[in-house]
């Protein structure tokens, strides 16, 4: 009797969770996709259509317009919002950050993963401890230093700050990958007469390429999406604005319709999402490698 009751409970649960699972999946699909659909939808409407029927999740053929994008992308001399220039600024800062971060992080990650030098455990802990301090805490002194040496409204200064934000996590990601490369490969290279530096350049780096790309991508994302430091350092100088900052400032404008704001959001989102989908597997594996071995 008890055995039968237990079975029915198990059956009931199997069925219940079998159904619930599909509800959860549908719910997740809706909450993740709908906001982005809504963003694109509004960016293709004139503002009157939005005000007339705010609840509409569709767009009629006669309302369809691309003028919002023209308004956002056109340079400010032509009466637009100048987002093309902002896109260029963002790309410059982000790519610069990626290059500088990788240059700074690769040797450190290699050393932490391979070489048993004095204090190697403490060093990797120290790098991660950086995240204990709020970005706002870093913001104060950097704000002052940059104001002093005249870097406060330049893209170079901004890239330096982003490097500070991304080097620790890059070391962590690279290290997790580098430890999986068998040391015997390096020993073979050493037997063939490679110096340590040559081994790193000719053997380790090519092998670590997937991880380098994943890390670079992640750094690019952080730099492209960053807002606080761009706001602090560049707010006074519209010529240097990144897309994130340009969009935030656009929203403060009184005469800017929300549909144009949404077009700006789409312009800001598309590059990073495209890049992400192009390399999704690479990135998720790079981020979580090590997590499945804990």
């Amino acid at each position: 009797m008890t055995r039968k009751a237990a079975l029915t409970r198990a059956q009931f649960e199997e069925r219940f969770f079998g159904v619930l699972r599909w509800f959860v999946i549908a719910f997740l699909a809706v909450i993740t996709v709908l906001p982005f659909y809504y963003m694109v939808l509004l960016s293709l409407k004139p503002i009157d259509a939005l005000l007339l029927d705010p609840g509409s999740l569709w767009i009629s053929a006669k309302d369809f317009t691309l003028s919002t994008y023209r308004d956002v992308l056109r340079s400010s001399e032509d009466g637009g919002q100048g987002f093309l220039k902002f896109l260029l600024n963002s790309a410059l800062v982000s790519l610069g950050t990626v290059v500088l971060t990788l240059v700074a992080a690769v040797p450190g990650a290699y050393a932490v993963s391979r070489l048993k030098f004095f204090g190697h455990r403490q060093v990797s802990a120290l790098f991660l401890a950086v995240y204990l301090f709020p970005a706002t805490l870093l913001a104060v002194p950097l704000f002052v230093i940059f104001a002093r040496i005249g870097l406060s409204s330049s893209l170079v200064g901004l890239a330096i700050v982003y490097v500070a934000q991304t080097v620790p996590v890059s070391i962590y990601m690279l290290k997790n990958y580098l430890v999986t490369i068998p040391p015997s490969i390096e020993e073979a290279a050493a037997l063939d007469g490679c110096s340590r530096l040559q081994t790193v350049r000719k053997v380790i780096l090519p092998l670590a390429l997937p991880s380098l790309m994943a890390t670079g991508l992640y750094v690019f994302m952080i730099a492209w999406n960053e807002f606080l430091f761009a706001l602090l350092f560049l707010a006074a100088d519209p010529g240097e604005w990144t897309v994130s900052l340009g969009l935030a400032q656009l929203s403060n404008g009184i005469e800017v319709p929300k549909t144009v704001l949404m077009a700006g959001s789409v312009v800001l989102t598309i590059p990073v999402v495209l890049l992400f989908f192009a390399a999704e597997r690479l990135l998720t594996e790079g981020l979580t490698s090590g997590a499945d071995k804990s």
């Binding site: 963003m39 040797p107 450190g108 950086v130 807002f227």
Partner: protein
Amino acid sequence: MTASRRANRAGLAFVSPTFIVVLVVVVLPIAWTVLLAFQKARLVDIQGMGLFGNWSLDNFAQVFDSAGFWSSLGTTLLYTAGSTLGSVVLGLIAALALRKPFKGRGLLRAAMLLPYVAPVVAVAFVWEVALSPQYGVVNDWGKRLFGWDDPIAFLSTREYEVHLLGLHFDIPLALLTVIVFECWRYFPFAFLFILARLQAVPDTLEEAALVDGATPTQRFRHVLLPQLMPVIALLCVLRFIMTFNKFDDVYLLTGGGAGTDVAAVRVYDFLTARYDVGAAAAQALVLAASLMILLGFYFKFFGNKVQEEA
């Protein structure tokens, strides 16, 4: 030279460029913040000021005395705890739901990462527009489906009166909305890590439990959860630290108004509205210290437990 000494030397050589970069752009600025917090420093007079000089504890007195410091700290805690818990739980549910393959899983998995990878400025504005009382889709559908009488200003209502079963109580609506936003934006992060761990759980464990007649809830509670505990604990700590220091999400959604004045936004206000560098530094330092105290408690009470589970 022995091999270990060679490795030692090479290691130091390799680590030093990275170390110098971190030292210059991270460690030194933080050290200077600590100094600034103990000095009277406004942005205008900092130009001519030496590194040391006119020490005082005024900044800290100002921080602790200023109106709203303690309530701001409370708000920050509520915001951080709610967002951390919500995003990890939602991430766990998502990972469990997407664990077994189905048609379109790869696509949904990728789509679910959208909130996390999309720029915060863009998604914050989408939420702002969608929640707007005038032209937002949420209020429009709320009126149609649930018969809301008045549009609800989600992002600017400090206290919202709710009538439920004849009871009246106030909920901090703007703060809740911001927390929900955080959960939405960061559950993909938790989802990624938990799913990776979930797929590494050996099938034999669950099969054994199945043979023993364990129900799905029992299998989750006694087989999966212990396996996932270390990664969940790690995620909680990571998300707690990140959210505690978070600035942009709250700043963009509410500007720190309507009962959402988290500490990070206050630091920003000190810095930009008053150009009071000393007070901003002191406030940031107090924030970092509170975080470390909290983490200290966490590791003291739960650190061992996490180790045992692992």
